[in-house]
Symmetry: C2
Subunit: 215 residues, 2 copies
DNA sequence: GTCTATAGTTAGATAGAC
DNA sequence: GTCTATCTAACTATAGAC
């Protein structure tokens, strides 16, 4: 853990005395979420952090580097943890339960990840995929598809194209985070109520999927 | 139908003689999809259209106007058609079938819509929602939620929070289109194979949902 | 480390010839 | 309608004082 971050912690509770570096990171996260990478302005990040624009470059050299730091610090934890789940022993039902709960839990703490991933994958599909996704994923998707296919063949789950099932699991986990601003307005729920809905999704999604695929 | 478009058609097959306006629209769609609104460059659109940058402004005055034209021409058709489905008579199962098939069919023809909607809803949530979504949606979401709630109460479907069910239906329909560049790489499928998967989703999604919610 | 001032670049938009 | 050339504004990034 970084020294300044450690100094700013009392027990497990971070207190609000943030140095410039932390203020920049927090502000940048918010602006990148609101505007995307191309739409974000260094000036706006500086304003929101309450510091000068030149300091951004002093700490992070460039907009691109700043983005990378923010992205890697949180995305770096997500994929390895998720990939691991399908390597562990257990039934497909247990794995789906663990995966959906883990995904929603982690992303609730870093809700900007899915938006970043989707905007980056459109900006530069091949480089992004090869840099961030493929190394962590390796042959995992094939393994998962294989596990689904075998389960279907053995009658443990209903017949279903494994690729459709993979898309369904991902859709149900990811979509609420990327569509949140629209969903909240459509469903008339405030921030607290939406967090509550996400909380309930940790189990609701896996129940939904399991009902759908069990014979 | 616009005169130039009519002239460019033979029967139902559009031929490739496009005037500048059409070339610009086609190019702009592609660039806006790849780069988003903020990341798109008028120069890049001009290059891809094979015409000069000044001509963009001659036809569409500004980048913002150009985007609006492209967006409205296709998005304008989508929501009314979908909203109508839950007004028509039929069981919840029939409505879900009609909705998912209609959504996937229409969006397969205009695959950029979901990406546009998501980027716009993040850029300017309130204005976008009030301009494009709310007028078409009105109280429809409440009505749908009500229909789901009643069906659950009557035991026609399993007990489920109607808002979760709405999110699930939307997730399964929309996500594959916004995550397409990543999904194709993860699943190792080319464009043709992915279109085939989407084609199969027209029925696969509603089957999946109905299995999940039927008692 | 933090600021002001400014350099250097690029993008959207327009003027004007043809 | 279409082009070349240019204006103007905005942005990233750096230089240099404190």
């Amino acid at each position: 853990m970084h020294l300044t971050k450690w100094l700013n912690q009392v027990g497990n509770t971070e207190i609000s005395i943030e140095n410039a570096e932390q203020k920049i990171l927090t502000a940048a996260r918010n602006v990148f979420i609101r505007k995307g990478f191309a739409g974000a302005r260094m000036q706006e990040i500086a304003d929101e952090a309450g510091i000068n624009k030149a300091l951004l470059h002093y700490y992070f050299r460039s907009k691109e580097k700043l983005f990378e730091v923010i992205f890697k610090e949180s995305f770096g934890k997500l994929l390895p943890e998720l990939a691991d789940i399908f390597q562990q022993p257990g039934s497909v039902f247990e794995k789906i339960e663990r995966f959906t709960e883990a995904y929603i839990s982690i992303v609730m703490e870093h809700p900007f990840i899915p938006v970043f991933v989707l905007s980056e994958i459109h900006r530069n599909p091949d480089e992004f995929f090869d840099t961030y996704i493929r190394p962590e994923l390796a042959g995992n998707i094939q393994i998962i598809a294989q596990q689904f296919a075998v389960a279907a063949q053995q009658g443990i789950i209903r017949p279903i194209d494994p690729r459709q099932l993979i898309m369904n699991v991902m859709s149900l986990c990811v979509f609420p985070f990327v569509a949140r601003p629209m969903l909240q307005r459509m469903l008339h729920v405030n921030d607290a109520a939406f967090m509550q809905l996400l909380q309930e999704r940790k189990t609701a999604v896996s129940q939904f999927i399991i009902q759908a695929i069990k014979p």
